[in-house]
């Protein structure tokens, strides 16, 4: 089972906290990869909050292609962060890992943020397509105040490999996933977390309804709904579709992926709308076994379960720092000094929502609405 460690805090912290939580939850073999998504960045990125950051892995040739393309579009490089790679046995280092901060092309500077988001998405996809065949470019995210790191190997060793234990890379929200998979042919684009235009999720478990969901998303006519090297990528795109495209409040994400039964809908104030949503979004219903942790552009973090709660998950912490973990020992590692009686183990109808800056935690119950 994959291990998930999400931490949201009012203060900047190091991704090593997440990685150590993953290490605590480790059970058996775990060399299939680590994915990290950092939001609301501190350290050297604090002064670049408004500028998009491109998170990439490139070959020598890929970097040249990437630089030329970015130049052609008109993006100007303001700053480039490169992890201090420390050779670690078992991890094959690629040529370039970096996060580049760019200034928008001149003609885009006065556009709305929504328009800029489209430019960023299109650019990321174009780069992905350019380097997908020969694996010369992996572009994970291109968005303001967000960095994504991914590599195949043991999470702790990858942390050392990237020098995260020494680097000053910090953020207020960090998602980390360690893949525990017996499939050795891990592809970097299959590593969680998945990010699209400010929305991010990571998941454990397999998605048995993957194909109909993928087909539905891919037929929405949105450029960003591609990839799907992992059956869990759809969870990020459903969130994006629900909130950004349909403009539904966050908790309808739960109603879409695990719709209530007809009798249960009767108890909800919004029952008329729910019936329409249940019908219209039927292909996005998941059957699990999944636990999904996600964040939205405003910094809200959440955890939801499949409709039978077939995977574990816990949320706990103190005011100003909460952790959303797949297992309790991970939470103990990150926030040992907390009131454990207030730990939340979301059940099948629950959606645990942690507000931005980790100010408060709410449990939204699907039956009550």
């Amino acid at each position: 089972m994959c291990r998930l460690a999400a931490i949201t805090s009012s203060k900047y912290f190091s991704p090593m906290e997440n990685i150590l939580a993953l290490e605590t939850m480790k059970e058996g073999h775990d060399g299939s990869g680590l994915g990290l998504t950092l939001k609301d960045l501190g350290g050297e990125f604090r002064e670049f909050k408004e500028y998009p950051i491109l998170s990439c892995i490139c070959s020598r040739k890929g970097r040249e292609v990437l630089d030329a393309y970015m130049d052609e579009i008109g993006f100007k490089l303001l700053h480039r962060w490169k992890p201090k790679i420390k050779p670690v046995k078992g991890i094959v280092a690629r040529d370039y890992y970096f996060a580049g901060v760019y200034e928008y092309p001149d003609e885009w500077k006065d556009r709305t943020f929504k328009e800029k988001e489209e430019l960023l998405l299109n650019t990321r996809i174009a780069l992905r397509k350019m380097g997908e065949k020969d694996e010369s470019i992996f572009a994970f995210s291109f968005y303001p105040d967000v960095i994504t790191l991914k590599e195949v190997g043991d999470p702790l060793e990858i942390g050392e490999f990237f020098g995260l234990d020494k680097d000053i890379l910090k953020a207020k929200i960090i998602f980390a996933q360690g893949r525990q998979n017996t499939n050795y042919q891990i592809y970097l684009y299959a590593c969680h977390p998945f990010f699209i235009q400010g929305y991010c999720t990571m998941t454990n478990g397999e998605n048995t309804a993957f194909v109909p969901i993928r087909e539905f998303l891919m037929s929405r006519g949105l450029k960003g709904y591609i990839g799907y090297n992992s059956d869990s990528e759809v969870f990020a795109h459903i969130l994006h579709y629900c909130q950004r495209q349909l403009e539904f409040p966050l908790f309808y994400y739960k109603d879409i992926i695990t719709p209530l039964k007809n009798g249960e809908i009767e108890g909800r104030k919004d029952k008329e709308a729910l019936i329409l949503i249940k019908q219209a979004l039927r292909p996005l219903c998941i059957d699990g076994p999944n636990m999904v942790i996600g964040f939205t552009p405003d910094g809200t973090c959440f955890m939801v379960q499949d409709s039978k709660k077939l995977r574990p998950g816990v949320v706990g912490g103190v005011n100003g720092k909460y952790a959303l973990m797949s297992e309790l020992c991970g939470l103990d590692k990150v926030i040992p000094n907390r009131d454990r009686s207030k730990d939340i183990f979301p059940m099948k109808y629950d959606m645990v929502i942690v507000s931005p800056e980790a100010k408060e935690v709410k449990v939204w119950n699907q039956l009550q609405g």
Partner: protein, 555 residues
């Protein structure tokens, strides 16, 4: 040389029994000459005969075999193409001594001769193809075990339901956020099409008229029981030929789909009943084609048009009732589909889903795309070549039409390309449960992209012991002489059928199918929604079929 008077030298125009599709095996030693077999034979294929024969007898205190000549009574197969043995085996059913049975003759030359009078062979039933259908070759191969635990068909909650009706695309839902929750935006004036939640297996269109009163009543009672007592929302289509007037005005009408076809039979009484109807029907089906006889109209033979049927259909008694092959008042797909859907929707106040049914065809996608653009089209039913009928030319049944599996698949994938796979439900029919694998065939079609399936022959076999099979057994539905009383209007025949027993079997069939569908979906990790289009769960043992259906090949 002149022939001798009284003797016939030329037997060229007399067939041998070996030319017939079934040969009667009669055992003289077991037969007590009760005559039940000859009385019940629906086609007059066997007759009692008297023969003067030489037999060997051994009698007396010291028996010694000796030949004697005597008059004996035998059961004889008729050597006449009009009275061919259909293989129905009703003779075996009534024989007290197991003395008689028909035997299938794979070497028969039946079709060489069954066109006397210059008329092609007409029959009822199904396509005569005893081979294994594509649906029966499909296996469910994506099994959840450890990485994604299997569900428990007996204990977990399952929702084996589907939607019948046009579903709005999510982007067009008339919703607005008010006080933090979504509400219907009534000011938008957006039409929200009617949608029914039904069990994904429905009873396909079979008319009052084609079916006997007992059969139809049994099916209807079973459907009502399933809905009201078992909570399984099974719907049934009326077929073309109107509807029982009292039932039209009852609350049970909501479990039935009313069909309108090219003859418009029965619609006069339906339209006149509208003001008195307490409930709306489940849906309206507009029949443009039928899988068993694509491009051909319906036909109710004169002997079946008894008083009740004539009243419901508004026609004189005992006249042939042919429906034209196409709707005669229409001249284009826009006319035929769009205007009829609009008219029928309007007649029921836009509260009832209206959808067309077509026969499986390579041009199905053209119809589909027309419907996809029509916001009032509620679904598309495609009836594959393995569908059944009460009457058709043998050539239509056997050789016309398109298999359902690839037809549904290509239509579904076409909808996927347009992003409308959830908006326009596809209903698959024709050959589901052909070999008895009802749930497996239904699940395979659903995972290929159908939202629901419709069955006809399966329900007749399972609930009323229909005798037909793919070796042209019985298939007398067109003659009105159905020996089981299923497709006849002759009271002497249909009183053999107990409608209560039919209803009981309908309930049993659907309860069992419900359990079996769970037994398929549970190990594949699906329970909350029907796995429509979950093609990664399917495999087939033929590479070409796998490629055509865009599923995996497994052997």
């Amino acid at each position: 040389m002149e022939p001798v008077a009284g003797l016939k030298l030329d037997y060229n125009h007399k067939l041998t029994i070996k030319e017939y599709p079934y040969i009667i095996r009669w055992r003289e030693d077991r037969c007590k000459r009760c005559g039940q077999c000859t009385a019940i034979c629906p086609n007059g294929a066997i007759i009692p005969a008297v023969k003067y024969m030489r037999v060997i007898e051994s009698t007396g205190d010291t028996p010694k075999p000796r030949p004697v000549r005597r008059v004996i009574h035998v059961i004889e197969q008729v050597n006449n193409m009009e009275n061919y043995c259909t293989g129905c085996a009703m003779c075996s059913a009534v024989c007290p001594n197991n003395a008689i049975e028909p035997e299938f003759n794979p070497n028969s030359k039946f079709l060489f001769y069954k066109n006397h009078g210059g008329e092609g062979y007409k029959r009822g039933g199904r396509r005569n193809d005893p081979g294994i259908s594509t649906l029966d070759r499909i296996k469910f191969t994506r099994i959840s075990m450890l990485t994604d635990p299997a569900l428990d068909a007996g204990r977990h909650e399952f929702r084996v339901r589907t939607y019948l009706g046009r579903i709005l695309p999510p982007e067009e839902l008339p919703l607005k956020v008010q006080d933090g929750i979504l509400t219907i935006d009534k000011s938008s004036g957006k039409f929200i099409p009617p949608v029914r939640e039904i069990f994904p297996i429905m009873i396909g269109s079979m008319s009052i008229g084609a079916l006997s009163p007992h059969m139809w009543e049994g099916l209807a009672m079973g459907v009502a029981y399933l809905n009201e007592i078992e909570g399984i929302p099974v719907v049934m289509c009326s077929g073309e030929g109107g509807f029982a007037p009292r039932l039209l005005k009852s609350r049970y009408i909501k479990y039935f789909i009313l069909q309108i076809a090219s003859g418009y039979f029965g619609w006069d009484s339906i339209i006149h009943s509208l003001p008195q109807m307490k409930e709306d029907p489940a849906a309206i089906e507009i029949k443009y084609g039928q899988g068993a006889k694509p491009g051909d109209g319906g036909l109710l033979m004169a002997p079946k048009v008894i008083k009740l049927i004539a009243e419901i259909r508004g026609v004189p008694k005992y006249v042939d009732l042919p429906s034209p092959p196409t709707h005669q008042t229409k001249y284009s797909i826009e006319e035929a589909v769009m205007k009829m859907i609009q008219s029928m929707s309007m007649a029921f106040g836009f509260r009832v889903p209206v959808y067309p049914k077509i026969s499986g065809t390579r041009t199905a996608k053209a119809v589909l795309n027309n419907l996809a653009r029509n916001p009032y089209a509620a679904a598309l039913c495609i009836d594959g070549e393995d569908g059944g009928t009460g009457a058709a030319y043998n050539v239509s049944l056997d050789k016309m039409g398109h298999p359902i599996a690839s037809n549904i698949r290509e239509c579904y994938l076409d909808l996927v390309k347009q992003g409308k796979q959830n908006e326009l439900p596809l209903i698959a029919a024709g050959g589901i449960g052909k070999k008895g694998n009802l749930a497996a065939n239904a699940a395979a079609l659903i995972m290929l992209g159908a939202s629901a399936v419709a069955i006809g022959k399966y329900i007749m076999q399972a609930t009323a012991d229909c005798l037909g099979d793919e070796n042209n057994r019985c298939n007398l539905c067109n003659t009105g002489k159905c020996p089981r009383g299923i497709t006849t209007q002759d009271p002497k025949l249909y009183r053999r059928l107990d409608p209560d027993k039919v209803a009981e079997r309908v309930v049993e069939v659907f309860k069992a199918a419900d359990v079996e569908l769970r037994k398929i979906f549970a190990p594949m990790g699906r329970s909350t929604e029907l796995p429509i289009g979950m093609s990664d769960g399917l495999s087939i043992d033929d590479k070409a079929m796998a490629e055509r259906l865009e599923i995996s090949y497994a052997c």
